[in-house]
């Protein structure tokens, strides 16, 4: 069976600029997996992923005339997606308190295990770890949260984060440092609470 031909982004963009709705639909369908992965990684609480994805695509179409082709189009869209997620996270002024009591039994066990022994998390606890990481990240400031998510969860380099967010290297390092310091204090607090 022959391979599917690669999607012609440039041709599709030309058609979208000539107000071809079918081309716009094709572009959305093509970019949706990229956008939804970013949205799911940085989704703020109480925001529907589909609504956020829609906002990102509408921004993309609004700013289409600004796209000069200096970077590949998916990179340009990724940046819009990341900055839209940061804006949404910033809009959520209050962050929920992180308490042992609010954790599920499995999450509490995983947290206790990572804090008290040096073994890796078991494969069947991956989902609980994922939930825990997001609950801990939710305690951080939106920009700090974004940096740690990209560094530690998505394992991006500082340069890649710079491309995605538009922040310079020093700023990213400062935010990562601040986020890790806050995490350390949270772990310490949790340990003390667990003991009492």
């Amino acid at each position: 069976m022959p391979d599917e031909p690669p999607f012609d982004v440039a041709g599709c963009l030309d058609r979208v600029r000539r107000r071809d709705q079918a081309a716009a639909r094709e572009l959305v369908d093509h970019l949706y997996p990229l956008v939804i992965r970013i949205v799911r990684s940085h989704l703020p609480r109480r925001v529907a992923e589909e609504d956020l994805a829609q906002d990102i695509f509408l921004k993309m179409f609004t700013r289409l005339e600004q796209y000069q082709g200096a970077v590949p189009f998916p990179h340009w869209v990724s940046r819009i997606a990341v900055t839209t997620c940061i804006d949404q996270l910033r809009a959520q002024k209050r962050r929920p308190e992180f308490r042992w009591a609010d954790l599920s039994e499995n999450e509490a066990e995983v947290l206790d295990a990572v804090m008290t022994n040096e073994k890796d998390v078991a494969a069947n606890d991956a989902m609980a770890s994922h939930e825990l990481v997001h609950k801990l990240l939710d305690q951080l400031k939106p920009d700090d949260r974004m940096v740690l998510q990209l560094l530690d969860m998505e394992q991006k380099t500082i340069a890649e984060i710079g491309e995605l967010t538009g922040w310079n290297t020093s700023l990213i390092k400062v935010r990562a440092f601040r986020a890790r310091r806050k995490l350390r204090s949270m772990f310490l607090e949790l340990q003390q609470k667990e003991r009492t």
């Binding site: 939804i36 509408l58 040096e118 890796d120 998390v121 991956a126 989902m127 770890s129």
Partner: protein, 101 residues
């Protein structure tokens, strides 16, 4: 309970979290692209009407012309001040009042 370094705890936790299965449904939901494309094109402003495009410019030009005409005729206005007495003399009301006294 032997506490370990918190950075290591975080590293182990994120390593575990990265192994969590990712959502497999990454295709756009049915109708999503149609809705987004329609919204995107509806949001774009249609070409403004000729009246809309030129009315503000016309107001500006008219204001400039008004100012320019006052400036151009200022010397004429100041060189021949209006004679208040003459006006008063030719004023029929004033004449009536004076005649009545």
């Amino acid at each position: 309970m032997k506490p370990t370094d918190h950075d290591q705890s975080w590293a182990r936790l994120t390593a575990g979290a990265r192994r969590a299965p990712r959502g497999t449904d990454i295709a756009a939901p049915f109708g999503f692209s149609t809705r987004v494309a329609a919204l995107a094109f509806a949001a774009e402003r249609p070409m403004r009407s000729l009246l809309e495009r030129f009315s503000l410019r016309a107001v500006g030009v008219a204001s400039l012309l008004a100012v320019a005409s006052v400036v151009a005729n200022y010397s004429v206005l100041t060189a021949h001040p209006v004679d208040d007495e003459l006006i008063a003399l030719e004023d029929p009301v004033a004449m009536l009042l004076e005649g009545g006294e």
